[in-house]
């Protein structure tokens, strides 16, 4: 508590002078004051006090200008984020598809080898998140993400050259390490361009990459199952790894070239539009860019009840999500379908994911409560999984707990 009070008072005293001192130019302020405790967005606003959007005329309303800015941002940010997230999932999933092709035999996988390969990627991601905390803060977030996308694309493509279990394992661990940044990066990027209600549909669209990845990956793997080594030289699953890896690298390069780190660096906005956008997102109070690492904030997070509740919920929901992703293709195959049919039949799973992601995001954008929607979308899963236990006692227990 004392530490908190101290840190607040330190913040307050080290704040740069207010705007009511126009005789000082901002570079002079920067020299005499440490500006590291104020967001880079403020420094930009300070330098461009009189900037107005070039598109603004006497007839255009503030809302209209913001709408135009948002539309521009949407076209330049959202598709890239979406492609990166889709590839993140497809490059993980490629192993599952290769698993129903000839990969197990070609790499002489036995026992738990296959599931170990799946698990290794996730463990590498989970472990690598710790250094990622620091890296995300030190490096420009969009550039850092783009480089990681390129590197994990290379890792995926290298999977095609795997000769046995251990060489495949190396590529999958590297994949997991480079993929560690995608989830936090996208969350941070959204907060730099959009207000909180605006973030919901964009973030949801990015997560749609999971459903789309399932569908596209299923279709691709269905196609490559018809490729046999005799008529091409490479096994179908190897071509699948190369195809996805190369696509990922291309998307990563595009992200590096076209995704700026923050609104201040957006080449498609003029200074006035940048000011208007920063003003619009200032109500978030979550900042845009500040590269100074402050360890006190880690301790605060560790003692913050909301952080633990968020983490607990995420691990609980992600646990069940993992089961669905890992087992839906297998469960379908166990119903007696052949591998080709199973991959095709798994595609509607993606459609269901898309629906349950899109509807709550749309509702949150319109100001509806997040918590109520989280509970609402839980209902179908409750109903499905409680079916085996239908008896008066269970129903009572179910509704009591719900």
């Amino acid at each position: 508590m004392i530490f908190l009070v101290i840190s607040i008072s330190v913040e307050r005293t080290s704040l740069p002078p207010k705007m009511s001192e126009p005789e000082k130019d901002s570079s002079a302020i920067a020299e005499e004051q440490s500006l590291t405790d104020v967001d880079d967005a403020w420094k930009f606003l300070d330098k461009h006090r009189d900037a107005v959007p070039s598109s603004s005329t006497s007839s255009s309303s503030q809302e209209g200008i913001l709408l135009a800015i948002r539309r521009k941002n949407d076209w330049r940010i959202v598709p890239l984020g979406f492609l990166c997230y889709t590839m993140q999932f497809m490059d993980k999933l490629v192993l599952n598809y290769a698993g129903v092709m000839s990969m197990r035999a070609d790499l002489r996988l036995t026992g738990n080898d296959f599931s170990n390969l799946v698990t290794a990627t996730y463990i590498a991601t989970a472990v690598w998140e710790l250094p990622t905390v620091w890296l995300l803060q030190r490096f420009p977030v969009a550039k850092y993400m783009a480089i990681n996308v390129i590197l994990w694309g290379i890792s995926t493509a290298c999977g095609a050259a795997a000769k046995d279990y251990s060489t495949m394992m190396v590529t999958r661990v590297l994949l997991g390490i480079f993929e560690a940044t995608i989830n936090p990066s996208l969350m941070l990027i959204a907060g730099r361009w959009y207000t909180k209600p605006e973030q919901a549909p964009r973030l949801s669209l990015w997560l749609q990459g999971l459903g789309v990845g399932q569908i596209v990956g299923g279709a691709l793997s269905y196609g490559f199952q018809f490729v046999s080594p005799e008529n091409g030289g490479l096994a179908g699953w190897r071509i699948l790894f190369i195809t996805l890896g190369v696509a990922t690298v291309v998307i990563g390069i595009a992200t590096y070239l076209f995704l700026p780190d923050n609104p201040m660096e957006a080449p498609w906005l003029d200074d006035g539009e940048k000011v208007a956008l920063l003003k619009h997102i200032s109500v978030n109070q979550t900042g845009v860019e500040n590269k100074k690492f402050r360890s006190a904030e880690i301790w605060e997070a560790l003692r913050d009840p909301q952080v633990w509740l968020i983490w607990a919920s995420v691990v609980l929901f992600a646990g069940t999500g993992g089961i669905v992703v890992a087992y839906s293709a297998t469960l379908i195959r166990n119903l007696g379908y052949d591998p080709k049919q199973a991959t095709l039949l798994n595609m509607p799973s993606g459609l269901i994911s898309i629906t349950v992601m899109a509807v709550p995001a749309w509702a949150i954008r319109r100001g509806q409560p997040r918590w109520a929607w989280a509970l609402a979308v839980l209902l179908p899963a409750y109903v499905f999984f409680s079916f085996p236990f239908i008896s008066p006692t269970y129903i009572f227990l179910f509704f009591f707990l719900y």
Binding site: S7, L15, P16, K18, M19, W42, T119, I123, A126, E129, T132, V133, L136, A180, T181, P184, M187, L188, G191, L203, L207, L278, S282, Q285, G287, R294, E297, D304, Q306, V307, L309, I310, W311, V314, V315, F317, A318, G322, V324, A326, Y327, S328, L331, I332, N334, L335, P348, L351, V356, M357, I364, R370, W371, A374, L375, V377, F385, P388, F389, L401
Partner: protein, 138 residues
């Protein structure tokens, strides 16, 4: 539905498809976490850990499917139901926590409006706990 006889393929398929509704709450948390955590380092930390827990959950979850439980996988289904209910409880707890936090902050000062955007305080390096004008969304 997950209890239908093996001969009822359409029913079982529908059941498998429906379980994908699980992605719903996860998406909501994906935009809920960054909305309520302020401070550059705290945001990086909390979102990176969310990414790590996504991955950890994906590893832990499937462990509940043990080959000896085939073909019904009853323990796995019980585990899934239990984690879903627990997730529902933590969601409600989070909601109540935010309501309580916002209530205790209301007395302080009013929420920043867009007009205050040039005030350095709006852009000061503060976490959601340090910034008494921060309001949690739920």
């Amino acid at each position: 539905m997950s209890f239908l006889p093996a001969s009822n393929k359409p029913g079982l398929l529908t059941g498998i498809y429906l379980t994908n509704a699980i992605s719903g709450p996860l998406t909501i948390f994906w935009n809920w976490a960054p909305a309520n955590v302020a401070g550059a380092t705290k945001r990086a930390f909390v979102t990176a850990m969310v990414g790590g827990l996504f991955a950890a959950g994906a590893v832990i979850g499937p462990q509940s499917f043990q080959a000896r439980d085939a073909p019904e996988y009853r323990p796995a289904k019980i585990t899934i139901l239990a984690t879903q209910i627990a997730g529902g409880c933590t969601t409600i707890a989070l909601f109540l926590y935010y309501v309580w936090q916002n209530k205790s902050r209301r007395a302080d000062e009013s929420h920043w409006a867009e007009d205050a955007f040039m005030s350095p305080e709006v852009w000061a390096r503060m976490t959601d706990k340090e910034n008494k004008r921060f309001r949690y969304s739920y």
